[in-house]
Protein backbone atom coordinates (compact mmCIF):
# COMPACT_ATOMS: atom_id res chain seq x y z
CA UNK A 1 0.00 0.00 0.00
CA UNK A 2 1.87 3.09 -1.17
CA UNK A 3 2.04 6.20 1.01
CA UNK A 4 2.55 9.65 -0.51
CA UNK A 5 3.27 13.06 1.00
CA UNK A 6 2.50 16.64 -0.02
CA UNK A 7 4.49 19.83 0.43
CA UNK A 8 1.66 20.99 2.70
CA UNK A 9 2.47 18.12 5.06
CA UNK A 10 -0.47 15.84 4.40
CA UNK A 11 0.08 12.12 3.95
CA UNK A 12 -2.11 9.84 1.86
CA UNK A 13 -2.33 6.04 1.86
CA UNK A 14 -3.70 4.57 -1.34
CA UNK A 15 -5.45 1.21 -1.44
CA UNK A 16 -7.06 0.57 -4.81
CA UNK A 17 -9.56 3.36 -5.32
CA UNK A 18 -9.70 4.41 -1.65
CA UNK A 19 -7.28 6.65 0.16
CA UNK A 20 -6.74 7.71 3.76
CA UNK A 21 -5.52 11.24 4.52
CA UNK A 22 -3.87 12.74 7.59
CA UNK A 23 -1.15 15.20 8.59
CA UNK A 24 2.47 14.29 9.12
CA UNK A 25 4.53 13.91 12.26
CA UNK A 26 6.44 17.04 11.23
CA UNK A 27 3.18 19.01 10.88
CA UNK A 28 1.90 18.02 14.32
CA UNK A 29 5.23 18.91 15.91
CA UNK A 30 5.02 22.40 14.38
CA UNK A 31 1.43 22.95 15.48
CA UNK A 32 1.83 21.97 19.12
CA UNK A 33 -1.08 20.63 21.15
CA UNK A 34 -4.03 20.03 18.84
CA UNK A 35 -7.28 21.13 20.46
CA UNK A 36 -9.80 20.70 17.68
CA UNK A 37 -10.17 19.01 14.32
CA UNK A 38 -12.94 19.76 11.87
CA UNK A 39 -13.33 16.85 9.49
CA UNK A 40 -15.38 16.90 6.26
CA UNK A 41 -18.87 15.44 5.92
CA UNK A 42 -19.30 12.11 4.22
CA UNK A 43 -20.29 12.54 0.59
CA UNK A 44 -18.43 15.77 0.12
CA UNK A 45 -16.48 16.01 -3.14
CA UNK A 46 -13.03 17.52 -3.37
CA UNK A 47 -10.77 18.48 -6.19
CA UNK A 48 -7.07 18.15 -5.63
CA UNK A 49 -5.90 21.03 -3.41
CA UNK A 50 -9.32 21.92 -1.98
CA UNK A 51 -9.60 22.86 1.69
CA UNK A 52 -10.84 19.65 3.26
CA UNK A 53 -10.36 19.90 7.01
CA UNK A 54 -9.20 22.29 9.69
CA UNK A 55 -6.81 21.52 12.48
CA UNK A 56 -6.50 23.87 15.42
CA UNK A 57 -3.97 24.37 18.15
CA UNK A 58 -4.48 26.97 20.86
CA UNK A 59 -2.99 29.82 18.82
CA UNK A 60 -3.25 28.65 15.23
CA UNK A 61 -5.80 27.29 12.80
CA UNK A 62 -4.53 25.48 9.72
CA UNK A 63 -6.34 24.24 6.68
CA UNK A 64 -5.73 20.70 5.52
CA UNK A 65 -5.92 20.29 1.75
CA UNK A 66 -7.12 17.27 -0.11
CA UNK A 67 -4.00 15.80 -1.79
CA UNK A 68 -6.09 14.26 -4.57
CA UNK A 69 -9.61 14.51 -5.99
CA UNK A 70 -12.37 12.29 -4.64
CA UNK A 71 -15.46 11.84 -2.50
CA UNK A 72 -15.35 11.56 1.27
CA UNK A 73 -16.44 8.12 2.43
CA UNK A 74 -15.59 8.42 6.11
CA UNK A 75 -14.22 10.93 8.59
CA UNK A 76 -12.37 9.99 11.76
CA UNK A 77 -15.06 10.48 14.39
CA UNK A 78 -12.59 9.76 17.20
CA UNK A 79 -10.94 13.14 16.65
CA UNK A 80 -13.99 15.02 17.85
CA UNK A 81 -13.61 13.77 21.40
CA UNK A 82 -9.90 13.17 21.33
CA UNK A 83 -8.03 15.63 19.10
CA UNK A 84 -4.82 14.69 20.95
CA UNK A 85 -4.73 11.57 18.76
CA UNK A 86 -3.25 13.79 16.06
CA UNK A 87 -0.35 14.61 18.38
CA UNK A 88 0.08 11.08 19.68
CA UNK A 89 -0.21 9.14 16.41
CA UNK A 90 -0.52 11.51 13.46
CA UNK A 91 0.31 8.97 10.81
CA UNK A 92 -1.86 6.18 12.27
CA UNK A 93 -4.83 6.53 14.66
CA UNK A 94 -4.90 10.27 14.03
CA UNK A 95 -5.99 10.03 10.38
CA UNK A 96 -8.50 12.63 9.18
CA UNK A 97 -10.69 11.23 6.41
CA UNK A 98 -11.02 8.56 3.72
CA UNK A 99 -11.68 9.30 0.07
CA UNK A 100 -13.06 7.40 -2.86
CA UNK A 101 -10.58 8.44 -5.54
CA UNK A 102 -11.85 10.22 -8.60
CA UNK A 103 -8.70 9.40 -10.55
CA UNK A 104 -6.34 6.65 -9.42
CA UNK A 105 -3.52 8.13 -11.50
CA UNK A 106 -3.51 11.55 -9.87
CA UNK A 107 -0.33 11.25 -7.80
CA UNK A 108 2.03 13.47 -9.78
CA UNK A 109 3.79 15.99 -7.65
CA UNK A 110 3.35 13.93 -4.50
CA UNK A 111 6.45 12.68 -2.72
CA UNK A 112 7.39 9.29 -1.36
CA UNK A 113 8.66 8.94 2.18
CA UNK A 114 12.34 9.46 1.34
CA UNK A 115 11.66 12.55 -0.75
CA UNK A 116 9.40 14.02 1.93
CA UNK A 117 12.06 13.43 4.57
CA UNK A 118 14.59 15.26 2.42
CA UNK A 119 12.03 18.06 1.87
CA UNK A 120 11.42 18.46 5.61
CA UNK A 121 15.13 18.36 6.43
CA UNK A 122 15.64 21.43 4.26
CA UNK A 123 12.91 23.45 6.04
Amino acid sequence: MPRYFTEDHEWIDVDGDTATVGITEYAQSQLGDIVFVETPETGKQFSKGDEAAVVESVKAASDVYSPVSGTVTEANGELEDNPALVNDDPEGEGWFFKLNLADTGEFEGLMDEAKYKAFVDKL
Binding site: F36, K59, A60, A61
Partner: protein, 452 residues
Protein backbone atom coordinates in the same frame (compact mmCIF):
# COMPACT_ATOMS: atom_id res chain seq x y z
CA UNK B 1 0.95 69.72 29.50
CA UNK B 2 -0.27 67.76 32.51
CA UNK B 3 -0.50 64.37 30.80
CA UNK B 4 3.05 64.40 29.40
CA UNK B 5 5.83 63.48 31.83
CA UNK B 6 8.91 64.09 29.61
CA UNK B 7 10.85 67.24 30.49
CA UNK B 8 12.86 69.25 27.95
CA UNK B 9 16.04 67.83 29.51
CA UNK B 10 14.69 64.29 29.14
CA UNK B 11 13.97 64.90 25.49
CA UNK B 12 17.47 66.21 24.86
CA UNK B 13 19.07 63.25 26.61
CA UNK B 14 16.88 60.77 24.76
CA UNK B 15 17.59 62.29 21.35
CA UNK B 16 21.29 61.99 22.17
CA UNK B 17 20.88 58.30 23.00
CA UNK B 18 18.98 57.77 19.75
CA UNK B 19 21.56 59.73 17.79
CA UNK B 20 19.08 62.17 16.31
CA UNK B 21 19.59 65.89 16.15
CA UNK B 22 15.95 66.76 16.55
CA UNK B 23 12.56 65.14 16.86
CA UNK B 24 11.87 66.16 13.25
CA UNK B 25 14.52 63.66 12.14
CA UNK B 26 12.39 60.88 13.63
CA UNK B 27 9.64 61.83 11.18
CA UNK B 28 11.96 61.71 8.17
CA UNK B 29 9.81 59.08 6.44
CA UNK B 30 6.90 61.51 6.19
CA UNK B 31 6.95 62.85 2.63
CA UNK B 32 7.59 66.54 2.12
CA UNK B 33 4.07 67.27 0.90
CA UNK B 34 2.53 66.02 4.16
CA UNK B 35 4.78 67.94 6.55
CA UNK B 36 3.07 70.71 8.49
CA UNK B 37 4.55 74.03 9.54
CA UNK B 38 3.37 73.76 13.14
CA UNK B 39 0.31 72.78 15.15
CA UNK B 40 -2.73 72.14 12.98
CA UNK B 41 -4.59 75.37 12.24
CA UNK B 42 -8.19 76.10 13.23
CA UNK B 43 -8.01 74.17 16.48
CA UNK B 44 -7.58 75.72 19.93
CA UNK B 45 -4.46 75.38 22.07
CA UNK B 46 -4.26 73.30 25.26
CA UNK B 47 -6.52 74.10 28.21
CA UNK B 48 -6.58 73.56 31.97
CA UNK B 49 -8.68 70.87 33.60
CA UNK B 50 -10.92 73.55 35.05
CA UNK B 51 -11.48 75.21 31.68
CA UNK B 52 -12.30 71.93 29.96
CA UNK B 53 -14.70 70.92 32.71
CA UNK B 54 -16.45 74.27 32.40
CA UNK B 55 -16.76 73.91 28.63
CA UNK B 56 -18.22 70.41 28.89
CA UNK B 57 -20.53 71.26 31.78
CA UNK B 58 -22.02 74.04 29.71
CA UNK B 59 -22.84 71.57 26.93
CA UNK B 60 -24.21 69.05 29.44
CA UNK B 61 -26.59 71.64 30.85
CA UNK B 62 -28.21 72.08 27.45
CA UNK B 63 -29.78 68.62 27.66
CA UNK B 64 -33.00 67.68 29.41
CA UNK B 65 -32.03 64.65 31.49
CA UNK B 66 -34.08 61.63 32.44
CA UNK B 67 -33.96 62.78 36.04
CA UNK B 68 -35.33 66.25 35.31
CA UNK B 69 -38.98 65.21 35.19
CA UNK B 70 -41.38 62.38 34.46
CA UNK B 71 -39.69 60.01 32.05
CA UNK B 72 -41.21 57.16 30.01
CA UNK B 73 -38.80 56.35 27.18
CA UNK B 74 -37.78 52.80 26.32
CA UNK B 75 -37.61 51.03 22.96
CA UNK B 76 -34.25 49.40 23.51
CA UNK B 77 -32.81 51.69 26.22
CA UNK B 78 -34.25 51.83 29.73
CA UNK B 79 -33.84 54.01 32.75
CA UNK B 80 -33.19 51.90 35.82
CA UNK B 81 -31.71 52.75 39.17
CA UNK B 82 -28.07 51.69 39.12
CA UNK B 83 -26.68 51.15 42.63
CA UNK B 84 -23.78 53.46 43.55
CA UNK B 85 -21.59 50.40 44.12
CA UNK B 86 -21.57 49.62 40.40
CA UNK B 87 -20.01 52.91 39.37
CA UNK B 88 -17.57 52.81 42.28
CA UNK B 89 -16.19 49.44 41.22
CA UNK B 90 -16.00 50.06 37.49
CA UNK B 91 -13.93 53.17 38.19
CA UNK B 92 -11.22 51.13 39.86
CA UNK B 93 -8.19 51.54 37.64
CA UNK B 94 -7.49 47.80 37.69
CA UNK B 95 -10.67 47.28 35.66
CA UNK B 96 -11.01 50.63 33.91
CA UNK B 97 -7.47 50.88 32.58
CA UNK B 98 -6.70 47.22 31.85
CA UNK B 99 -6.50 45.80 28.35
CA UNK B 100 -8.07 42.65 26.94
CA UNK B 101 -6.80 39.82 29.17
CA UNK B 102 -4.23 38.38 26.78
CA UNK B 103 -1.75 37.70 29.63
CA UNK B 104 -3.98 35.63 31.89
CA UNK B 105 -1.52 35.37 34.80
CA UNK B 106 -1.99 39.07 35.51
CA UNK B 107 -5.60 39.44 34.36
CA UNK B 108 -7.46 36.96 36.53
CA UNK B 109 -9.67 39.77 37.84
CA UNK B 110 -11.07 40.55 34.41
CA UNK B 111 -11.17 36.88 33.41
CA UNK B 112 -13.00 35.60 36.47
CA UNK B 113 -15.46 38.46 36.16
CA UNK B 114 -16.09 37.48 32.51
CA UNK B 115 -16.59 33.84 33.49
CA UNK B 116 -19.17 34.94 36.05
CA UNK B 117 -20.79 37.26 33.52
CA UNK B 118 -21.03 34.47 30.93
CA UNK B 119 -22.69 32.21 33.49
CA UNK B 120 -25.14 34.92 34.57
CA UNK B 121 -26.14 35.66 30.99
CA UNK B 122 -26.50 31.99 30.06
CA UNK B 123 -28.74 31.35 33.07
CA UNK B 124 -30.82 34.47 32.57
CA UNK B 125 -31.45 33.55 28.91
CA UNK B 126 -31.96 29.86 29.65
CA UNK B 127 -29.05 28.83 27.40
CA UNK B 128 -26.03 26.58 27.86
CA UNK B 129 -23.29 29.10 27.14
CA UNK B 130 -22.75 32.84 26.61
CA UNK B 131 -19.84 34.87 25.30
CA UNK B 132 -17.92 37.71 26.95
CA UNK B 133 -20.10 40.41 25.27
CA UNK B 134 -20.62 42.16 21.94
CA UNK B 135 -20.88 45.88 21.10
CA UNK B 136 -24.63 46.11 21.68
CA UNK B 137 -27.94 44.39 21.02
CA UNK B 138 -28.27 45.47 17.40
CA UNK B 139 -24.86 44.19 16.32
CA UNK B 140 -25.29 41.02 18.40
CA UNK B 141 -28.55 40.45 16.51
CA UNK B 142 -26.82 40.62 13.11
CA UNK B 143 -24.00 38.39 14.35
CA UNK B 144 -26.64 35.85 15.40
CA UNK B 145 -28.19 35.92 11.93
CA UNK B 146 -24.83 35.30 10.25
CA UNK B 147 -24.08 32.57 12.77
CA UNK B 148 -27.36 30.84 11.90
CA UNK B 149 -26.29 31.06 8.27
CA UNK B 150 -23.02 29.28 9.05
CA UNK B 151 -24.77 26.60 11.08
CA UNK B 152 -27.58 25.85 8.60
CA UNK B 153 -25.67 26.78 5.43
CA UNK B 154 -28.74 28.78 4.38
CA UNK B 155 -29.14 32.49 3.84
CA UNK B 156 -32.81 33.41 4.24
CA UNK B 157 -33.67 34.97 7.59
CA UNK B 158 -37.23 35.73 8.67
CA UNK B 159 -37.40 38.80 10.92
CA UNK B 160 -40.38 39.53 13.11
CA UNK B 161 -42.22 42.81 12.57
CA UNK B 162 -41.82 43.27 16.32
CA UNK B 163 -38.02 43.48 16.08
CA UNK B 164 -36.60 46.91 16.96
CA UNK B 165 -36.50 48.89 13.68
CA UNK B 166 -32.89 49.94 14.27
CA UNK B 167 -31.94 46.27 14.60
CA UNK B 168 -33.79 45.57 11.35
CA UNK B 169 -31.96 48.48 9.68
CA UNK B 170 -28.59 47.14 10.81
CA UNK B 171 -29.44 43.71 9.41
CA UNK B 172 -30.69 45.27 6.16
CA UNK B 173 -27.48 47.24 5.77
CA UNK B 174 -25.33 44.18 6.26
CA UNK B 175 -27.48 41.87 4.15
CA UNK B 176 -27.07 44.19 1.17
CA UNK B 177 -23.39 43.32 1.21
CA UNK B 178 -23.44 39.69 2.24
CA UNK B 179 -26.23 38.70 -0.13
CA UNK B 180 -28.46 37.28 2.62
CA UNK B 181 -32.20 37.48 2.05
CA UNK B 182 -34.17 39.07 4.86
CA UNK B 183 -37.92 38.76 5.15
CA UNK B 184 -39.15 41.81 7.06
CA UNK B 185 -42.48 43.41 7.89
CA UNK B 186 -43.84 46.51 9.60
CA UNK B 187 -45.64 45.98 12.90
CA UNK B 188 -49.38 46.39 13.21
CA UNK B 189 -51.13 47.80 16.24
CA UNK B 190 -52.59 44.48 17.31
CA UNK B 191 -52.83 42.97 20.78
CA UNK B 192 -50.67 39.95 19.99
CA UNK B 193 -47.22 39.60 18.40
CA UNK B 194 -46.87 38.26 14.86
CA UNK B 195 -46.14 34.62 15.76
CA UNK B 196 -48.53 33.07 13.24
CA UNK B 197 -47.37 35.24 10.37
CA UNK B 198 -43.78 34.27 11.13
CA UNK B 199 -44.59 30.57 11.16
CA UNK B 200 -46.14 30.92 7.71
CA UNK B 201 -42.89 32.40 6.39
CA UNK B 202 -40.59 29.55 7.46
CA UNK B 203 -39.54 27.39 4.52
CA UNK B 204 -36.80 24.92 3.63
CA UNK B 205 -34.40 27.73 2.75
CA UNK B 206 -34.86 29.55 6.06
CA UNK B 207 -31.76 29.79 8.23
CA UNK B 208 -33.44 31.42 11.18
CA UNK B 209 -36.43 33.24 12.59
CA UNK B 210 -35.62 36.35 14.60
CA UNK B 211 -38.13 37.44 17.20
CA UNK B 212 -37.95 40.10 19.88
CA UNK B 213 -39.25 39.21 23.35
CA UNK B 214 -40.91 41.41 24.64
CA UNK B 215 -41.25 43.02 21.20
CA UNK B 216 -40.87 46.65 20.11
CA UNK B 217 -44.46 47.40 21.14
CA UNK B 218 -43.93 45.67 24.49
CA UNK B 219 -46.00 42.62 23.55
CA UNK B 220 -45.11 39.17 24.85
CA UNK B 221 -45.83 35.92 23.04
CA UNK B 222 -45.02 32.30 23.75
CA UNK B 223 -42.00 31.27 21.67
CA UNK B 224 -42.54 27.51 21.96
CA UNK B 225 -44.71 27.19 18.86
CA UNK B 226 -42.29 29.29 16.87
CA UNK B 227 -39.36 27.16 18.01
CA UNK B 228 -41.18 23.99 16.99
CA UNK B 229 -42.05 25.38 13.59
CA UNK B 230 -38.48 26.57 12.97
CA UNK B 231 -36.96 23.29 14.10
CA UNK B 232 -39.36 21.31 11.90
CA UNK B 233 -37.73 23.04 8.92
CA UNK B 234 -34.23 22.71 10.44
CA UNK B 235 -34.05 26.48 10.95
CA UNK B 236 -32.86 28.13 14.16
CA UNK B 237 -34.88 30.36 16.45
CA UNK B 238 -33.09 33.54 17.48
CA UNK B 239 -34.67 35.48 20.34
CA UNK B 240 -33.74 39.11 20.96
CA UNK B 241 -34.15 40.57 24.44
CA UNK B 242 -33.77 44.34 24.73
CA UNK B 243 -35.02 44.51 28.33
CA UNK B 244 -33.25 41.80 30.36
CA UNK B 245 -35.08 42.84 33.54
CA UNK B 246 -38.17 41.28 31.97
CA UNK B 247 -36.65 37.85 32.42
CA UNK B 248 -37.07 38.23 36.17
CA UNK B 249 -40.80 37.96 35.52
CA UNK B 250 -41.28 35.95 32.34
CA UNK B 251 -39.94 32.69 30.97
CA UNK B 252 -36.48 32.63 29.45
CA UNK B 253 -36.33 32.27 25.64
CA UNK B 254 -33.96 29.30 25.93
CA UNK B 255 -36.54 27.52 28.05
CA UNK B 256 -39.02 27.83 25.16
CA UNK B 257 -36.64 26.43 22.58
CA UNK B 258 -34.64 29.40 21.26
CA UNK B 259 -31.28 28.23 19.86
CA UNK B 260 -29.54 31.58 20.07
CA UNK B 261 -30.56 34.36 22.45
CA UNK B 262 -29.04 37.81 22.04
CA UNK B 263 -29.80 40.98 23.85
CA UNK B 264 -29.04 44.48 24.95
CA UNK B 265 -27.68 44.51 28.50
CA UNK B 266 -27.88 48.28 29.02
CA UNK B 267 -30.74 47.99 31.54
CA UNK B 268 -28.47 46.49 34.17
CA UNK B 269 -25.61 48.62 35.39
CA UNK B 270 -24.95 50.64 32.26
CA UNK B 271 -27.20 53.70 32.17
CA UNK B 272 -28.73 55.58 29.23
CA UNK B 273 -25.69 57.54 27.92
CA UNK B 274 -27.53 58.76 24.82
CA UNK B 275 -27.26 55.34 23.20
CA UNK B 276 -23.79 54.05 23.98
CA UNK B 277 -21.65 52.41 25.03
CA UNK B 278 -24.01 49.55 25.74
CA UNK B 279 -23.37 45.84 26.00
CA UNK B 280 -24.42 43.09 23.62
CA UNK B 281 -25.40 39.79 25.21
CA UNK B 282 -24.95 36.58 23.23
CA UNK B 283 -25.91 33.08 24.34
CA UNK B 284 -26.59 29.78 22.59
CA UNK B 285 -26.75 26.05 22.97
CA UNK B 286 -23.58 24.07 23.65
CA UNK B 287 -23.53 22.42 20.24
CA UNK B 288 -23.26 25.77 18.45
CA UNK B 289 -20.38 27.13 20.50
CA UNK B 290 -17.69 26.83 17.83
CA UNK B 291 -19.74 28.99 15.48
CA UNK B 292 -20.12 31.74 18.08
CA UNK B 293 -18.59 35.18 17.49
CA UNK B 294 -16.66 37.14 20.08
CA UNK B 295 -14.41 36.39 22.99
CA UNK B 296 -14.99 33.48 25.30
CA UNK B 297 -13.52 32.97 28.74
CA UNK B 298 -12.97 29.42 29.96
CA UNK B 299 -11.88 27.68 33.12
CA UNK B 300 -8.59 25.81 33.32
CA UNK B 301 -5.72 25.21 35.76
CA UNK B 302 -2.27 26.72 36.10
CA UNK B 303 1.08 24.96 36.31
CA UNK B 304 0.51 24.30 40.03
CA UNK B 305 -2.98 22.95 39.44
CA UNK B 306 -4.80 26.03 40.74
CA UNK B 307 -8.06 26.98 39.08
CA UNK B 308 -7.76 29.92 36.71
CA UNK B 309 -9.33 31.44 33.64
CA UNK B 310 -8.17 32.17 30.09
CA UNK B 311 -9.60 33.43 26.83
CA UNK B 312 -10.29 30.30 24.85
CA UNK B 313 -11.46 28.90 21.51
CA UNK B 314 -9.62 31.88 20.03
CA UNK B 315 -9.15 30.16 16.69
CA UNK B 316 -12.68 31.34 15.84
CA UNK B 317 -11.49 34.93 16.08
CA UNK B 318 -9.99 37.42 13.67
CA UNK B 319 -6.56 37.70 15.27
CA UNK B 320 -5.92 34.03 14.41
CA UNK B 321 -8.40 33.06 11.70
CA UNK B 322 -8.19 36.39 9.84
CA UNK B 323 -10.48 36.30 6.77
CA UNK B 324 -12.00 33.00 7.91
CA UNK B 325 -12.99 34.23 11.38
CA UNK B 326 -16.55 33.89 12.64
CA UNK B 327 -16.65 37.70 12.98
CA UNK B 328 -14.36 40.70 12.65
CA UNK B 329 -15.11 41.77 16.24
CA UNK B 330 -12.09 42.54 18.43
CA UNK B 331 -12.84 45.14 21.09
CA UNK B 332 -16.07 44.20 22.88
CA UNK B 333 -17.83 45.87 25.75
CA UNK B 334 -15.88 44.52 28.73
CA UNK B 335 -16.40 47.34 31.20
CA UNK B 336 -20.15 47.45 30.51
CA UNK B 337 -20.21 43.67 30.99
CA UNK B 338 -18.59 44.25 34.37
CA UNK B 339 -21.24 46.85 35.25
CA UNK B 340 -23.97 44.42 34.18
CA UNK B 341 -22.44 41.64 36.24
CA UNK B 342 -22.01 43.73 39.40
CA UNK B 343 -25.57 44.98 39.18
CA UNK B 344 -26.79 41.41 38.69
CA UNK B 345 -24.73 40.21 41.66
CA UNK B 346 -26.18 42.95 43.85
CA UNK B 347 -29.69 42.02 42.78
CA UNK B 348 -29.35 38.26 42.85
CA UNK B 349 -32.32 36.19 41.81
CA UNK B 350 -34.40 37.52 44.68
CA UNK B 351 -33.68 41.14 43.82
CA UNK B 352 -34.16 40.64 40.09
CA UNK B 353 -37.57 39.09 40.67
CA UNK B 354 -38.56 41.94 43.01
CA UNK B 355 -37.32 44.49 40.52
CA UNK B 356 -39.29 42.83 37.74
CA UNK B 357 -42.44 42.68 39.89
CA UNK B 358 -42.20 46.38 40.69
CA UNK B 359 -41.65 47.27 37.04
CA UNK B 360 -44.65 45.24 36.00
CA UNK B 361 -46.89 46.54 38.78
CA UNK B 362 -46.12 50.17 37.93
CA UNK B 363 -46.56 49.52 34.22
CA UNK B 364 -50.00 48.02 34.91
CA UNK B 365 -50.92 51.13 36.89
CA UNK B 366 -49.69 53.39 34.14
CA UNK B 367 -51.58 51.47 31.46
CA UNK B 368 -54.77 51.70 33.51
CA UNK B 369 -54.34 55.38 34.22
CA UNK B 370 -53.36 56.46 30.69
CA UNK B 371 -56.29 54.63 29.14
CA UNK B 372 -58.58 56.75 31.29
CA UNK B 373 -57.49 59.71 29.19
CA UNK B 374 -60.23 60.20 26.61
CA UNK B 375 -59.36 58.69 23.24
CA UNK B 376 -56.30 56.75 24.49
CA UNK B 377 -56.43 53.00 23.88
CA UNK B 378 -54.13 50.24 25.06
CA UNK B 379 -52.79 48.14 22.18
CA UNK B 380 -51.16 45.27 24.06
CA UNK B 381 -52.72 42.09 25.31
CA UNK B 382 -49.74 41.16 27.47
CA UNK B 383 -46.77 43.34 28.45
CA UNK B 384 -43.98 43.59 31.01
CA UNK B 385 -42.82 47.15 31.72
CA UNK B 386 -43.50 48.72 28.35
CA UNK B 387 -46.71 48.98 26.38
CA UNK B 388 -48.11 50.82 23.39
CA UNK B 389 -51.08 53.15 23.45
CA UNK B 390 -52.91 54.51 20.46
CA UNK B 391 -53.55 58.22 20.70
CA UNK B 392 -56.41 60.00 18.92
CA UNK B 393 -53.76 62.24 17.30
CA UNK B 394 -50.32 61.90 15.74
CA UNK B 395 -48.04 60.94 18.60
CA UNK B 396 -44.83 62.65 17.52
CA UNK B 397 -46.00 66.25 17.95
CA UNK B 398 -47.67 65.21 21.20
CA UNK B 399 -44.31 63.95 22.50
CA UNK B 400 -42.68 67.25 21.47
CA UNK B 401 -45.41 69.28 23.15
CA UNK B 402 -45.01 67.26 26.35
CA UNK B 403 -41.22 67.73 26.21
CA UNK B 404 -41.86 71.47 26.24
CA UNK B 405 -43.61 70.87 29.56
CA UNK B 406 -40.49 69.10 30.85
CA UNK B 407 -41.92 65.65 30.44
CA UNK B 408 -40.40 62.85 28.34
CA UNK B 409 -43.54 60.93 27.54
CA UNK B 410 -42.37 57.91 25.57
CA UNK B 411 -41.21 57.00 22.09
CA UNK B 412 -43.60 57.85 19.29
CA UNK B 413 -43.83 55.24 16.59
CA UNK B 414 -43.58 58.14 14.15
CA UNK B 415 -39.96 58.56 15.27
CA UNK B 416 -39.20 54.90 14.60
CA UNK B 417 -41.40 54.35 11.53
CA UNK B 418 -41.69 57.77 9.88
CA UNK B 419 -43.14 56.40 6.65
CA UNK B 420 -45.96 54.42 8.26
CA UNK B 421 -49.11 56.49 8.64
CA UNK B 422 -50.95 53.59 10.26
CA UNK B 423 -48.53 53.75 13.20
CA UNK B 424 -48.49 57.53 13.62
CA UNK B 425 -50.84 57.44 16.59
CA UNK B 426 -48.71 54.90 18.46
CA UNK B 427 -46.82 55.84 21.60
CA UNK B 428 -44.60 53.32 23.37
CA UNK B 429 -44.50 53.98 27.10
CA UNK B 430 -41.88 52.40 29.38
CA UNK B 431 -42.34 52.31 33.14
CA UNK B 432 -39.62 51.20 35.55
CA UNK B 433 -38.93 51.24 39.27
CA UNK B 434 -37.72 54.82 38.81
CA UNK B 435 -41.22 55.93 37.82
CA UNK B 436 -43.36 57.30 40.64
CA UNK B 437 -47.13 57.25 40.85
CA UNK B 438 -46.96 61.00 40.73
CA UNK B 439 -45.05 60.81 37.42
CA UNK B 440 -47.85 58.66 36.01
CA UNK B 441 -50.44 61.10 37.27
CA UNK B 442 -48.56 64.06 35.76
CA UNK B 443 -48.26 62.31 32.41
CA UNK B 444 -51.95 61.42 32.32
CA UNK B 445 -52.96 64.97 33.16
CA UNK B 446 -50.58 66.54 30.63
CA UNK B 447 -51.61 64.10 27.94
CA UNK B 448 -55.24 64.93 28.53
CA UNK B 449 -54.44 68.60 28.21
CA UNK B 450 -52.37 68.26 25.04
CA UNK B 451 -54.93 66.01 23.37
CA UNK B 452 -57.86 68.23 24.25
Amino acid sequence: MRYLPLTPDDRTAMLAKIGAGSVDELFADVPELARLDGPIHDLPAHASEMAVERHMAKLARRNLTAGDGPFFLGCGAYKHHVPATVDHIIQRGEYLTAYTPYQPEIAQGTLQMLFEFQTQVARLFGCDVANASMYDGSTACWEAITMAGRVTKRSRAVLSSGLHPHYVSVANTMAKFTGDTLVTATPELTAEPDTDALIDQIDDETSCVVVQYPDILGRIGDLSKLAEAAHAKKALLIAVVTEPVALGAIKAPGEMGADIVVGEGQSLGVGLQFGGPYVGLFACSQKLVRQMPGRLCGETVDAEGKRGYVLTLSTREQHIRREKATSNICTNSGLCALAFSIHMTLLGEKGLRQLAEINHALACKAADRLTQVPGVELVNGAFFNEFTVKLPAEARPVVRALADKGMLAGVSLGRLYPAEDALAGGLVVAVTETTTEDDIEQLAAALKEVLA
